[in-house]
Symmetry: C2
Subunit: 261 residues, 2 copies
């Protein structure tokens, strides 16, 4: 019985443990790029769980999730259910009624409870980690959107671009507008660096908490991966040098959990 | 040699350890009320440090701080130094050149380093705690300002009110406007409750991290004290019942550190 990755996604032998399935959206290369999905992929890799990726283009996300009975990941302000990725299927405990989860925080908490070895939430820190990730998503990453959303959009498969036409900002920023946008991004990185610097002496000075990577670092590094995959030259080439190379060091600390199955 | 509190603030005997001094602003009662200053008072009480309070009314803050050589607590957006309370003086290590600190975060970090017993930052959590407190101050407490600032202003000594005339909102909200403002406050409390609920099972379910109170709880409870002292009936009477009494339980957990010297 081999625990190695099998390209078909089907275990080569019936006694092989069933595999987890992660639903992801393809970009312009075979490399995963979406930060919310990387957050889950990091946890799967960190916990050394066997999984395979199923690729679903944006226009098929809602119908695919409906067909597998995935719950909505949240509600819109008007109360309408939102279907979005990541979605994770875990058949391990009951292959006939696999666990189907959506929303990255829900998946993270599930994985931590179901697979407590190699914890991503240091003891007693679930609330603090969750608030940190909320902050990364809602405050820290906000000024990246006007830069990264059009850049990402441009690099999605053609059908996906058609699907979003009209609802996504089409114009990639250029010239002084782009520089202004990067300035707002740098302000957030600078501020977060002063916060993370508090751990120098009380932690390893790179990760968000103590000496080991945790959910907070995975959320942060997922943003770095997004920048690197969708804006390698104009984005990651800048960011990696900021704050005395702090973000490059974080990348290096997370690198061993960047496997792509 | 007695370690008890001496009303003059001067140790009764030269061999008594020198006392720390906390500068605070008076309200309408002898009870301290300012949330930023409570954050420091909580730490002093929690660490069982001997201190006395010196009361300075708002109009005298800047000149008082200048006379004792206190550093500014920050810089305004125009680069002008800001002088504000709390300020802490610690003569313990060198009575001839006492340590003078401003800015609650700076004071908190100093106290933790100088008096490491009974830590307020659980190991490796300085960055996480600091971000939590930043969030409490900049996001969570924001909708309280239109309610609490005029209420607090109304209850400050007359000279202070004169000092602020024109620069502070004078109108205490009433009727539907007040209800709308409380609704925005409740939204923040509800959201923070869902975050803190993550620790049920992984902590005691009341405090922000693990099973013991920490800097994050003191920052949060300082806001509750502000509400209780300046809006007992309309404010604390509401808040203490929200989220199944979570905030009342936090108050009870912090109560033993609410001494006022």
């Amino acid at each position: 019985m081999s625990a190695a990755y099998h390209p078909s996604g089907i275990p080569p032998h019936s006694r092989a443990p069933p595999m987890l399935t992660l639903y992801d959206v393809p970009g312009h290369t075979p490399q995963p790029w979406s930060p919310n999905i990387w957050r889950v992929r990091f946890i799967l890799n960190f916990k050394r769980l066997r999984y395979r990726t199923v690729w679903v283009e944006f226009p098929q996300v809602e119908s695919t999730l409906a067909s597998i009975g995935a719950p909505p990941s949240g509600l819109s302000s008007s109360g309408r259910p939102i279907y979005s990725l990541p979605v994770l299927i875990d058949p391990t405990h009951n292959p006939r009624a696999p666990k189907i989860l959506s929303n990255p925080n829900t998946i993270a908490e599930y994985l931590e409870s179901a697979y407590p070895a190699r914890p991503v939430f240091p003891e007693g820190s679930r609330a603090m980690q969750t608030l940190f990730v909320h902050y990364i998503q809602e405050v820290f990453a906000k000024p990246l959107l006007p830069i990264m959303v059009p850049l990402s959009h441009q690099q999605l498969p053609g059908r996906t671009q058609e699907h979003f036409r009209g609802s996504m900002p089409a114009a990639v920023l250029s010239g002084p507008q782009r520089e202004e946008a990067w300035k707002a991004v740098k302000y957030q990185f600078d501020f977060l660096a002063t916060i993370l610097d508090k751990n120098t002496g009380d932690g390893d000075g790179v990760v968000a908490m103590g000496d080991e990577v945790s959910y907070a670092d995975f959320a942060l590094c997922s943003i770095l991966i997004w920048i690197q995959r969708m804006a390698a030259q104009d984005g990651w080439a800048r960011v990696r040098t900021w704050n005395n190379g702090r973000w490059h060091r974080l990348w290096e600390r997370c690198k061993e959990y960047m496997d792509e199955f």
